[in-house]
Structure formats: structure tokens, C-alpha cells
């Protein structure tokens, strides 16, 4: 087991190294002036000597492999340079946004998982009934719509026409917890509905698979009440693939968070990322990509190890 964990950690580290390398070469594929602009000055107003001095200062006159090694070392220590627009260290700017995106992800899990699992169980137990077809169809629609469209629909209906919740913005959590959470409702619901659709499909599928197993028939034939069979015997085993599948959706959840945060102007990682891209603030782009991917890779690793621990049958190749 420990050998397996070490191997998985090494693979995760290799992924992080891969993305750091990719980012390095993407930055160096930029035209020279754009790299100079990462120092925060306007290269087009500089003289040739100033540019040369600047290149020297930023280390751009050093051989590529020296620059590459420097980037890896700095990035490993969390030093991604200074944001061109805010003039603050990138790490600080990015870390401010991380908890807000985590809140959104947690909100989505809290809305989506219970909804999806309950819907999945109901449709599996009433398989091919009218409820099954309707609920299933509804989830196919919700699950395939882009989050910015479902988000806008929720925003228009509950924010604009009914006026139940604010349509966007941000209030810090220490300013007013109530206002903060109210702003979080619609974004969480938007992502949660999508996640719920995935969970519902998985739960239904897994429940049907488990219910066709021999031990379920045995449980019925020894006279157990159907509720005991369904919830004690079937559900426990059916939920494992659901956990795995939900864990695997974290990448899409991140992508969805970028769009959801933009729809509701929720100032998390996604909004910061898009703003940085629109402003061509390359140090921030680098920082967000490396930090996000690192977090994502290790979350996936944790989910995998957790599932392996929950269900020893899952082979560790």
C-alpha cells in the first residue's frame, strides 16, 4: 500500500512539473515586448538601452535552461512574481481568492450530491416508470446545458423577476455572514444542479447494477424488509462509484466555477483568472494555472486514495 501511495504521489508531482514546464514555454513563446511588460513597465516607451537593462534585470539574457531552472525553483517556493495590474505579489492576490472558490465548490457539493443521490435512488427503484423518465430527462437537460446558461436562467428568474436573492456582487464574510451566504446561494445552486445531474446518473446506474447482484436476491429471499435491502445492502455498495465519479468531476467543476463566478461576479479564482487573461497580466495567469492545477491534482489523488481505502476490491495497478 505505501509503495502504491508513493507511486501515486510521484505521478502527481510529475503532473505539476509538466504544467510548470508548459507554462514556462508558453510564456517564452510570447513576443519579447510582452515578456518585458511582465516587469510592470511599458516597453514601448523605453529606449534600446533601457530594454537591454530591463532584460538583464529580469534575467532574460541568461540561457534558457538557467531561466527554466530559476522558474521551477521560484514557483516551487510559491514566488510567481508581481501582478502587473495590482503591483502586489501574485501569490498573495491568488490566495485571497482561493477560499471563495472553495466555498462555491463546497456549496455546489452540498446542493448537488444529496439531490443527485436521492434522485438517483428514486429513479432506480422506480425504473422505467413515468417518474424515472421525467426525472432522468430533466437531469439530462440540466447536465448538458452550459453552466453560464443555467446560471443566467436562475439569475433572471430568482434574482431579477422574483427578486428573492441578490443578482451578484460580493460581501466579505466578516462583514456580514448573512449577506455573504445569500450571495452564495445562486452560484452554488448553479454548479450544484450540474453536479447533481452527474451524481443522479451515476447513482441510478450503480443502484441498478448492484440490485441485479446475487447477494441482493439472497437478502430478499431470507426475508429482509425491502428498505433494509435497499439502504443497508445496496446503497452502501452503490455509493462508491458515485464518490469516485464526483471526485473525477472536480476538473469540470473548476471550469464551471470560472463561468459561474463570471455570471455572478463572485470574486474567486475563476474571476481573477479571467480578469488576468483579459488584462494580459501574465504573472497572475502563471500563478493561477500552477496553483489551481496543483490543488486539483492533489485533490484527485486524495479522492483516489480515499476510494481505495473505502473499497479494497478496487485494484491498485
Amino acid at each position: 500500500m505505501s509503495g502504491y501511495v508513493v507511486k501515486r504521489v510521484l505521478v502527481a508531482l510529475a503532473l505539476v512539473w509538466f504544467i510548470m514546464t508548459l507554462v514556462f514555454f508558453l510564456v517564452h513563446s510570447l513576443p519579447g515586448d510582452a515578456i518585458l511588460a511582465m516587469g510592470g513597465d511599458r516597453p514601448e516607451t523605453m529606449s534600446e538601452e533601457q530594454r537591454a537593462a530591463m532584460r538583464h534585470e529580469l534575467g532574460l539574457d541568461r540561457p534558457l535552461y538557467v531561466q527554466y531552472a530559476g522558474w521551477l525553483v521560484h514557483a516551487a517556493y510559491g514566488d510567481f512574481g508581481t501582478s502587473v495590474s495590482s503591483k502586489r505579489p501574485v501569490l498573495r492576490d491568488v490566495l485571497v481568492c482561493v477560499p471563495r472558490t472553495l466555498e462555491l465548490a463546497l456549496g455546489a457539493l452540498l446542493c448537488g450530491l444529496p439531490l443527485g443521490i436521492v434522485a438517483g435512488i428514486c429513479t432506480a427503484l422506480r425504473r422505467n416508470s413515468r417518474t424515472d423518465v421525467l426525472v432522468n430527462g430533466a437531469f439530462v437537460v440540466v447536465g448538458s446545458l452550459p453552466v453560464y446558461i443555467s446560471g443566467l436562467v436562475l439569475l433572471l428568474v430568482f434574482g431579477l423577476y422574483l427578486g428573492w436573492v441578490p443578482t451578484g456582487g460580493f460581501v466579505a464574510i466578516d462583514e456580514s455572514l448573512n449577506a455573504h451566504l445569500r450571495l452564495l446561494i445562486l452560484p452554488s445552486l448553479t454548479l450544484g444542479l450540474w453536479l447533481g445531474a452527474v451524481a443522479a446518473r451515476m447513482t441510478r446506474h450503480a443502484m441498478l447494477e448492484v440490485l441485479s447482484q446475487d447477494y441482493i436476491r439472497t437478502a430478499f429471499s431470507k426475508g429482509l424488509a425491502s428498505s433494509a435491502v435497499y439502504y443497508r445492502h445496496a446503497l452502501k455498495n452503490a455509493l462508491i462509484p458515485v464518490v469516485t465519479a464526483t471526485g473525477l468531476q472536480m476538473g469540470s467543476l473548476l471550469g464551471g466555477a470560472v463561468l459561474t463566478e463570471t455570471v455572478y461576479t463572485w470574486p474567486g479564482l475563476g474571476l481573477a483568472f479571467v480578469a488576468a487573461v483579459l488584462r494580459r497580466d501574465y504573472p497572475v495567469i502563471q500563478g493561477v494555472v500552477v496553483i489551481t492545477v496543483t490543488g486539483f491534482v492533489f485533490t484527485n489523488l486524495a479522492v483516489d486514495l480515499l476510494v481505495g481505502w473505502l473499497d479494497p476490491r478496487i485494484s491498485r495497478d
Binding site: G251, V258, L259
Partner: protein
């Protein structure tokens, strides 16, 4: 095997895949969308870039059937041209992903060993990363012209296709007819092109349909974020992003592109599901296949 799949598909046709309403409905929607994209210049009543002064955010009228947007441009024309941008990017990106992914998948499965390990490990690495973040980051560096979008999405979608082709190709590699072909002296090229390629078509078709949906999602998502094809190009994503700022005065420039994106994406999802039921004989006999057909 090729014959086998053909005859089984044929049998399915006998049972009437076209009577499966989903295939007919979703297929027609896609065809209409493609026709609109191709024929946009003929169908559009007005130039989508022409500004009609004094006609800002108007409702439907005889001159502008679906009203005008925040700059006084015809919403109907922009909607038609928007189909062009989205479908063009999605189509060519999926072509790149399909050609690249099929080639890499079949080559990995055929050669095995080191080639297999290097290619498939690299593909798995990309598949492990959050796709949307990767797409946005790459577009940030290489720029957001239509051509760049096609290449970025196409290349980043290649590993997904490669995985699917690889799994199928690996089983085909072990079949007796491939061994027989090799025994009578068929070379690598012949085995890969004549024996392995045709037998991977069914899963690839299903995957194409689903990835077209994802590619459209990605393109419209990027456009919505302001990272799609630069203005004034009419794209559905940008229309939605801009339309929401003036929804208080006129909702058509927001609602119509939202409907357009949703319809096309739903149609592609349903088409993918329906195609899988018709083309994948292994799933058809199983419980899931049956349920999907009934649902």
C-alpha cells in the same frame, strides 16, 4: 469483424433506428444548424455588422424580425452568423482531435511497448488536467483568433479521442484476423489502415458527436468570458455576455442566443446517446443499452 459490425448495424436498421425518434429529431436539428451556419450570408436579412442608428434594442418589427441589439444591429442576422463561428470552431477542432487521436490511438495499440507507453502516458497526463483552465491559459498566451481557437481546442481534445480509440484498437490487435493478416505478410500500414481503423469507427462516431457538443460548449464559454473570436465577430457566447447587460430594456438579444446554444448542445448530447445505442452492439444487449433505448 468489419462485416460483423456492418451486418449488426444493418439488423439494427431493420429494427428501425430511424423509428427511434431521438435520432431523427436530434439529427434534423443538427442538420438545420449546419445549414444555417453554411448559408448564413444567404439567409441573413441584414449585414450582421451594420449598425442601424436610432434602432437600438428594438423589439421585433417588419424590418428586423427579431429586433436589434445594443448597437442597433440586427439580432436575427447576428444569430445566424453566430452559428457560423461556433460550429466552425467546433467542427474543425473535432476534425483535428479525431484525426490526431485516431492516429495516436491506433499506433499505440499496434506498436505497443515503448511507443505505447510514451504516447498513452502523455495523453493520460493531459486528461488528468482541468480542461477549461488549460484552454483559457493557452488561449491567453497564443491569442484568440478563430484559427488559434481551433488548434487549441483540437489539440487539447486529442487525448480524449486517443484513449477511446486505443481501448478499442487494443482488443482488435489481439483478434485472430489481425494475426492472420500478419501471417500472410500484411505490413504495419495495411494492418492499421485496413483492419484496425475501420473497426474503431463505431466508438469514434459516438465520441465525435459528444465532443462536438463539448467543443461548442468550450467555444461559447470562451466567447462568453470575452476570450473567444475577437469582436465584431458575431458569436453566441459574446451575444449572451453582452445581452445580459441590457436585459432590463430588451431581453431578445439575450434569450435567443441562449436558446440557440441550448438547443444545439442538447441535440448533440441526445444524438450521441442515440448513436451509441444504434452503433455499439455490446451496449445494446446490456441493461444500460436497453434502458437508454426505452428512456
Amino acid at each position: 469483424m468489419a462485416e460483423g459490425i456492418k451486418s449488426q448495424t444493418g439488423r439494427a436498421a431493420g429494427r428501425g433506428p430511424w423509428r427511434d425518434g431521438r435520432l431523427l429529431l436530434s439529427g434534423s436539428i443538427i442538420l438545420v444548424a449546419v445549414a444555417v451556419a453554411v448559408l448564413a450570408p444567404l439567409l441573413a436579412q441584414h449585414d450582421p455588422y451594420k449598425v442601424y442608428p436610432g434602432q437600438v434594442l428594438k423589439g421585433p418589427s417588419a424590418q428586423h424580425w427579431l429586433g436589434t441589439d445594443e448597437l442597433g444591429r440586427s439580432t436575427a442576422s447576428r444569430l445566424l452568423y453566430g452559428a457560423r463561428a461556433s460550429l466552425q470552431v467546433a467542427f474543425f477542432a473535432v476534425v483535428i482531435a479525431t484525426v490526431g487521436g485516431t492516429g495516436l490511438g491506433i499506433a499505440s495499440a499496434y506498436y505497443g511497448g515503448l511507443v505505447d507507453m510514451v504516447i498513452m502516458r502523455a495523453m493520460d497526463m493531459v486528461l488528468c488536467l482541468p480542461m477549461m483552465i488549460l484552454v483559457i491559459a493557452t488561449v491567453a498566451f497564443v491569442g484568440n483568433s478563430v484559427t488559434n481557437l481551433i488548434f487549441v481546442i483540437g489539440i487539447l481534445y486529442t487525448p480524449g479521442t486517443a484513449r477511446i480509440v486505443y481501448t478499442t484498437a487494443l482488443t482488435i490487435r489481439q483478434t485472430q484476423y489481425v494475426q492472420a493478416a500478419q501471417a500472410i505478410g500484411a505490413g504495419a500500414r495495411r494492418v492499421m489502415l485496413r483492419h484496425m481503423l475501420p473497426n474503431t469507427i463505431a466508438p469514434v462516431l459516438v465520441h465525435i458527436s459528444l465532443s462536438l457538443g463539448f467543443a461548442i460548449l468550450t467555444e461559447t464559454g470562451l466567447s462568453f468570458l470575452g476570450l473567444g473570436p475577437p469582436p465584431p465577430t458575431a458569436t453566441w457566447g459574446r451575444m449572451i455576455a453582452v445581452g445580459r447587460t441590457s436585459v432590463y430594456r430588451q431581453s431578445l438579444p439575450l434569450i435567443l442566443p441562449m436558446l440557440a446554444v441550448s438547443t444545439v448542445i442538447l441535440a448533440l448530447t441526445v444524438l450521441g446517446d442515440a448513436l451509441r445505442d444504434v452503433l455499439d452492439p455490446r451496449l445494446r444487449g446490456s441493461t444500460t443499452g436497453k434502458e437508454q433505448q426505452r428512456a
